[in-house]
C-alpha cells in the first residue's frame, strides 16, 4: 500500500512585516504509512501546524510535493477530503449555537448522516452537554468538540494537531484510548503533541521537525534503540568498592549518590557475575533506556539550560537541501 501521507521538499515562507521572509517550512519531508499512529513532534514554531495547513489546502506552499491518501494535494483534495478528518490548532467554532447544532451543520454540509452526530458526541464524552452553547464550553470541552467534528466523517485518516491541548488527565487518557481504538480499526492517525510521554505510549512512529526541516523519522522503538547507550543503574551496599571492581574489568562507571551507572554495557549478566564474585550483592539492576523526551531535547537542542532563557527559534537548524531559487521572493500562489 502506498503511504497515506507523503510530503517532499515542502517550503513555505511568510513575509515579515519589515521585509524579508520567515521560512516556516524549509524543505520538509514526511511519510506516514497506512495503519500507523504517527507522532509529529517539534518545538514551538517549528512548522507543524503550517505543514498540516498546507497539506489540507488551507495555506499555499511555495514549493514541494504533497500526497494525501495517494492523491496529490491540494489539487485532488476535493476527491479525498471526505475520508480525512482533521483538527488544526484549536479550531474555532462560531459560538452562538449548541455543540450538537454545530456538528449537525457540519454533517449537513458534508452529507454525513446526522445520526452520526450523537455517536461522536458520546464518543468524546459530550453527550449530556451537546445542547449547551459552544461559547460556554471550557477549553477542554471545545477541544473535545473539535475532535468530535473530525470524527464525524468516520475518516480513514485522522489528523490531530495538539488534541490534548487543555484536556484533563481523564481526557488525555480517553484520547489515548480513542486513538488506540481507531488504530485497531485500521484508521491512520497523525498526531502532533508536546506531551512526549503520551506520544511514546500511543505512536508507532514519529517525525521530528525543527525550524522547518525534518530532524528524524522512524519507528518509536527504533528511534529509542538508536539512542540507547546501554547504560545500567546499579544499587549495591558498598558503592566505592563495586565501582573499583567494575572499573578493574574495564567497565566505564560513574558514581551517583546512592547508585552507580555503568555505561555501554553489552551483557548485563556480566555485571552480576563480576560483583557477585566479590561478594557484592546487587539489589537493583535497571537498564537506563532513553525516553522520547530526552531524544527530542537532544535532537532539537531545546533542553533548558541553567541561566539561559531559550528562545523559540534557538532550536537546531538541521542540514537541509540547498535553498530554492525563489527563496527570497516566494511566488504568490494562484
Amino acid at each position: 500500500m502506498p503511504p497515506v501521507i507523503e510530503i517532499a521538499g515542502l517550503r513555505k515562507g511568510y513575509r515579515r512585516l519589515r521585509g524579508g521572509v520567515h521560512r516556516a517550512l524549509d524543505g520538509f519531508d514526511m511519510v506516514v504509512e497506512p495503519g500507523q499512529v504517527h507522532g509529529f513532534l517539534g518545538p514551538n514554531g517549528s512548522g507543524k501546524t503550517t505543514t498540516l495547513r498546507a497539506l489540507l489546502g488551507l495555506v499555499r506552499a511555495d514549493a514541494g510535493e504533497m500526497r494525501i491518501l495517494g492523491q496529490p494535494s491540494p489539487s485532488a483534495l476535493p476527491q479525498v477530503i471526505g475520508r480525512v478528518g482533521a483538527i488544526v490548532e484549536s479550531p474555532q467554532f462560531f459560538g452562538n449555537i449548541s455543540g450538537r447544532r454545530m456538528l449537525t451543520l457540519l454533517a449537513t454540509a458534508g452529507g454525513v448522516p446526522t445520526a452520526r452526530v450523537e455517536e461522536v458526541l458520546a464518543q468524546v464524552g459530550l453527550r449530556d452537554r451537546g445542547k449547551d452553547i459552544v461559547k460556554t464550553y471550557s477549553l477542554g470541552m471545545k477541544q473535545r468538540l473539535a475532535v468530535a467534528s473530525a470524527l464525524l466523517k468516520a475518516p480513514e485518516l485522522l489528523i490531530l494537531d495538539e488534541p490534548a491541548n487543555g484536556l484533563d488527565p481523564a481526557g488525555i487518557r480517553e484520547m489515548r484510548d480513542l486513538v488506540r481504538l481507531l488504530a485497531s480499526q485500521g484508521v491512520t492517525v497523525l498526531v502532533s503533541s508536546h506531551i512526549l510521554a503520551e506520544i511514546q505510549l500511543i505512536c508507532d512512529s514519529v517525525t521530528i521537525i525543527s525550524r522547518g526541516r525534518r530532524v528524524l523519522a522512524g519507528p518509536v522503538s527504533g528511534v529509542l534503540a538508536s539512542f540507547d547507550s546501554g547504560d545500567f543503574r546499579i544499587r549495591v551496599d558498598d558503592l566505592p568498592r563495586a565501582a573499583d571492581v567494575l572499573r578493574a574489568d574495564g567497565v566505564q562507571v560513574t558514581t551517583g549518590p546512592d547508585h552507580l551507572v555503568a555505561h555501554r554495557v553489552a551483557a548485563p549478566a556480566r555485571l552480576t557475575e563480576l560483583l557477585g564474585g566479590k561478594g557484592l550483592w546487587i539489589s537493583e539492576l535497571a537498564p537506563l533506556t532513553p525516553d522520547l523526551e530526552s531524544v527530542f531535547l537532544q535532537l532539537t537542542a531545546t533542553a533548558p539550560q541553567p541561566g539561559a532563557a531559550k528562545q523559540v527559534d534557538d532550536a537546531v537548524l538541521p542540514a537541509g537541501p540547498p535553498p530554492a531559487p525563489n527563496e527570497f521572493a516566494p511566488e504568490v500562489p494562484r
Partner: protein, 323 residues
C-alpha cells in the same frame, strides 16, 4: 454536496442571532410605518368629500380662467401654463386622509432603503463573522473548493434576502392598500400608475440584492464584518463629503455625476435632474440648464461597483492563505 452545503448555510443564516434581530427590526419598522399612517388617516365624511370636490373645482376654474387671460394677452405662442385636470382631483383637497395613489411611492422608498441596509448588514455579517471566528476554515476541511464554499454562502444570502424582500414588500404594499380601503382612499390608479409602481418595486429588489452582494464582498475582502461598515463610512466621509467640498471650491463641472449616491437615487427613483451651472446659454439660445441621470446610468454604475467587488472577493479568497 452543493445542495447539502446550501441547506447547511440556510440553517446557519437563520440561526444567526444578528439576522433574527435585524428581521424583527425590519418588520417592526414596517409595522410602525403602517400604524402611524392608520393613526393619521380617517374615512372622509360625505361633508368632507363635498367640500374637497368643491375646492378642487373652484381651484381648477380659477386656473383655467388665468390661463385664458394669459393666452388672450400673449397669443397661443406665449408661455402660459395650461392647468392639468388630473392635478385638481378631489382627494388632493382632503386633509388627514391617506390616499394610496399619491403616497405609496414615497412610503415605498422608505422600506426599500431599509431593506438595502438590512441586506448589506446581513450579507456582511454572514461571511464576516465566520471569517473572524475561523468557522470558514473549519468548513474548508469539509469542502476544500473555496469558490464553492463562498458561492454557497453568497447564494444563500442573496436568495434569502431576496425572498424576504419580496415578502416584506408584498406585505407592506398590501397593508397600505388595506389602510386605504378601510380608512382612506385609493386615489387615481389609472394610466401608468401600476406599471410605474411595479417598475419601482422591481428596481428596489435589484437595489436590495446589490447591497447584499456588496456588503458580503467587502466583508470578504477585508476579512471582517466591520470592513464593510468601515468602507461605507470612509467612502461617505472622504468622497461624498470631502470630494464634494473640493469640487465645489474648484467649481467643477457637474460635480454630482461623480457621486455614487446620485446613481443610487436615480436608480431607485427612475431619474434625477440637476441644475447645470455651466451650460453656457447665449443671450437668445434655447438651452437646457439641467442634466438628467436616469436609472439606466444608475444600473450601470451600481452594476460595475457590485461586480468588481464580488469578483475581487472571489479572486482574493482563491489566492490567499486561510489560517
Amino acid at each position: 454536496m452543493i445542495r447539502n452545503l446550501l441547506r447547511a448555510e440556510l440553517m446557519r443564516l437563520f440561526g444567526r442571532r444578528f439576522v433574527q434581530i435585524m428581521t424583527v427590526l425590519l418588520l417592526g419598522a414596517c409595522v410602525i410605518a403602517v400604524l402611524s399612517t392608520v393613526a393619521s388617516s380617517h374615512t372622509p365624511t360625505d361633508a368632507e368629500l363635498r367640500q374637497a370636490a368643491g375646492d378642487a373645482a373652484a381651484q381648477f376654474t380659477d386656473m383655467q380662467r388665468y390661463y385664458e387671460t394669459c393666452v388672450a394677452a400673449q397669443g397661443p405662442q406665449g408661455e402660459c401654463p395650461r392647468p392639468d385636470p388630473a392635478q385638481y382631483r378631489m382627494e388632493n383637497y382632503l386633509t388627514g386622509v391617506f390616499v394610496f395613489a399619491n403616497e405609496i411611492t414615497g412610503l415605498f422608498y422608505f422600506v426599500a432603503v431599509f431593506l438595502a441596509l438590512f441586506g448589506f448588514l446581513v450579507g456582511a455579517s454572514f461571511i464576516g463573522a465566520e471569517m473572524t471566528s475561523g468557522g470558514l476554515t473549519n468548513l474548508l476541511l469539509w469542502q476544500p473548493q473555496r469558490p464553492v464554499v463562498l458561492g454557497a454562502k453568497l447564494l444563500t444570502a442573496v436568495v434569502s434576502v431576496g425572498a424576504l424582500a419580496v415578502l416584506v414588500i408584498a406585505g407592506y404594499l398590501g397593508a397600505f392598500w388595506g389602510v386605504a380601503s378601510v380608512s382612506g382612499l385609493a386615489g387615481d390608479l389609472s394610466g401608468p400608475f401600476w406599471p410605474d409602481l411595479f417598475a419601482v418595486v422591481a428596481r428596489a429588489i435589484a437595489f436590495v440584492l446589490g447591497f447584499t452582494v456588496l456588503g458580503f464582498s467587502i466583508a470578504v475582502i477585508g476579512r471582517h464584518t466591520a470592513a464593510a461598515l468601515g468602507t461605507v463610512a470612509a467612502y461617505a466621509v472622504l468622497w461624498e463629503v470631502g470630494l464634494r467640498i473640493v469640487l465645489d471650491t474648484v467649481d467643477a463641472v457637474r460635480p454630482d455625476r461623480w457621486m455614487f449616491s446620485t446613481y443610487l437615487v436615480a436608480f431607485l427613483d427612475g431619474s434625477i435632474e440637476f441644475y447645470d451651472g455651466w451650460s453656457n446659454c447665449g443671450m437668445y439660445a434655447d438651452c437646457a440648464s439641467t442634466y438628467t441621470v436616469t436609472w439606466v446610468h444608475g444600473a450601470l454604475a451600481g452594476g460595475v461597483v457590485v461586480l468588481v467587488a464580488a469578483a475581487s472577493a472571489f479572486v482574493l479568497t482563491q489566492r490567499r492563505d486561510m489560517a
